[in-house]
Amino acid sequence: MSSPSRWEIFRRTVMGRAYPRVVGMQRERSWLFFDTLLPLLQVSAFVFIYRAIQAPPEFTGFVVLGGAMTAYWLNVLWSMAAQFYWEKETGNLELYIIAPTSLMAILLGMAIGGMVGTTVRAAAVITLGLLIFRIEVSIVSVPQLLGVFLLTLLALYGLGMLFSSLFLLYGRQASHLSNLLQEPVFLVSGFYFPVRALGFIPALGASVIPITLGLDAMRQLLFPTMMAQFRFLDVRIELGALAVLSIGFLWLARRALSYMEALSRREGRLTIRGQ
């Protein structure tokens, strides 16, 4: 039997590693409560604040969209970036390393599995939010909306893959990075308000997190009238920037993984547990 090509191994690895995430979601139904109803509670808090101050109804839509996108950010932080820490603890990481596959394929599998699972959760939050708060949207362009959404996910998970390389070398210390990034990004990326409210320069700085541009563009495409006065950048510019971020993060992730793997092998950190 001839040995499989690198591409064949890559393709099968992606499928193999995506499988536990997709199947795991079906087998652990507790997500219905924890990942749908709990985020909705947080969203509701902002909705009631906006309603109390008599903000325009579109702001409810801004919040629901932001609330749905939090699922992706949390997934990227804890199930992509920090995942190698857990894989190291269980011994899976060394089995990934000794297999003739690439860590990029493993991470891509995790990302695809994570995206599928998280999209179901995000869709549930959006659907419930739209129904409960009776939000009206007027979609400007479906292809653009789809393009922004997909590029946001690509760039976001590329960033997660880049972060994950840190966990090859560091363990628990690197998880502080995830903690550090969680709440501040909710603020600077404008999860619950248009990011332009922070000012142009801070919003520009926050654009290194792809969800900043993604949220702004999606709001413009779903709530065009209200966003006309709050938009940060033109949608086409944001699409271009997301494409650049996607390619950049994926390229950097590949380089960083290769470098960190070699460094960790030299320092003997690939298999150290409990660090």
């Binding site: 039997m1 040995s3 499989p4 090509s5 064949e8 191994i9 099968r12 690895t13 499928m15 193999g16 590693r17 499988y19 536990p20 199947v23 795991g24 087998r27 652990e28 269980t90 011994g91 899976n92 060394e94 089995l95 990934y96 390393i97 000794i98 297999a99 003739p100 596959t101 493993i106 070699a262 092998r265 030299r266 003997g268 690939l270 298999t271």
Partner: protein
Amino acid sequence: MSMELAIKTEQLSRVYKVKKREAGAGKREIIALDRVDLEIPTGELFGLLGPNGAGKTTLIKILTTLLAPTGGRAWVAGVDVAQNPWEVRRHINVVSGGESSGYGLLTVEENLWMFSQFYGIDGKTARTRIGELLGIVGLADRAKTKIFHLSTGMRQKMNFVRGFLTNPEILFLDEPTLGLDVQTSHTLRGFIKDWVGKRPDKTVLLTTHYMHEADELCHRVAIMHDGRILACDTPGNLKKRLQQEVVFRLRVTAIADPEKLFQDLQGVQRFSHAEVDGHTELNFILEDENALPPILTAIQHSHGELISLEKRDSTLEDVFISLVGRGLTEGDGSAGAAQGEPR
């Protein structure tokens, strides 16, 4: 290197740097592997014997591309492990004792399928092999069980299947029966023996600190201590080294300070002791039987009572004691015993 060699190392070394605040008494480096030379031909079941900290796992980590050497070179399947790790990985697999790999929400066969995908094995072949191997290790009836429901032994059987599933040319087994019950260990040892016996193109490197496991399975055994290989030969030849000496095992009521008691006795080449079921078990390698009476007298003087005395054939444990000066499980925290000084 010759292509007939599955594994070769030349002066292979690994030194760990210790952080200043973690280093004790000025010790800034730990030599885990010290200029190891090894040649393992294809088709051999080779054993590495040594206590915890001997360097066995470090050696395996280097050979499986998980760790870079700090000195020397190593080849696996003719490929330099430092220069071309990806190519090495096409030829190998590893099973470690106490592994907890896999995902609890997946079933046994789903986990195994997932790992097979990392080697590019097509679905049909993977499913066939998984079925066959689960049957061999007696886990077929658990194929649909989620792995968080498995016992330790069952989980280790699954790990075995994972290792053999990819049909590797060279398989590394790192303490594979650690913590398993007698029956499971026996099943897995039988499986390893059978696998290598029927496939002359396969090579197994086994590390263990169970002497009988190495004795039963291995064509050749290397005894490691403090990162170095002290001896390397067939188990039979290693034991023949002690043919001139006499080996006694004594069981006595608990006695205090055995080292002090026996260290100056004439004719005692080496000894080890361990507490077993509230008694002291003493293993002596003596120059000849004339050395025994002074030992019995010393026991009597220390108010110990002889429970049993057995003259026995030498074992790999005795070989280890003669080379290292203490028993395999002594001094690594796994037995409450100390060592007799080599003379």
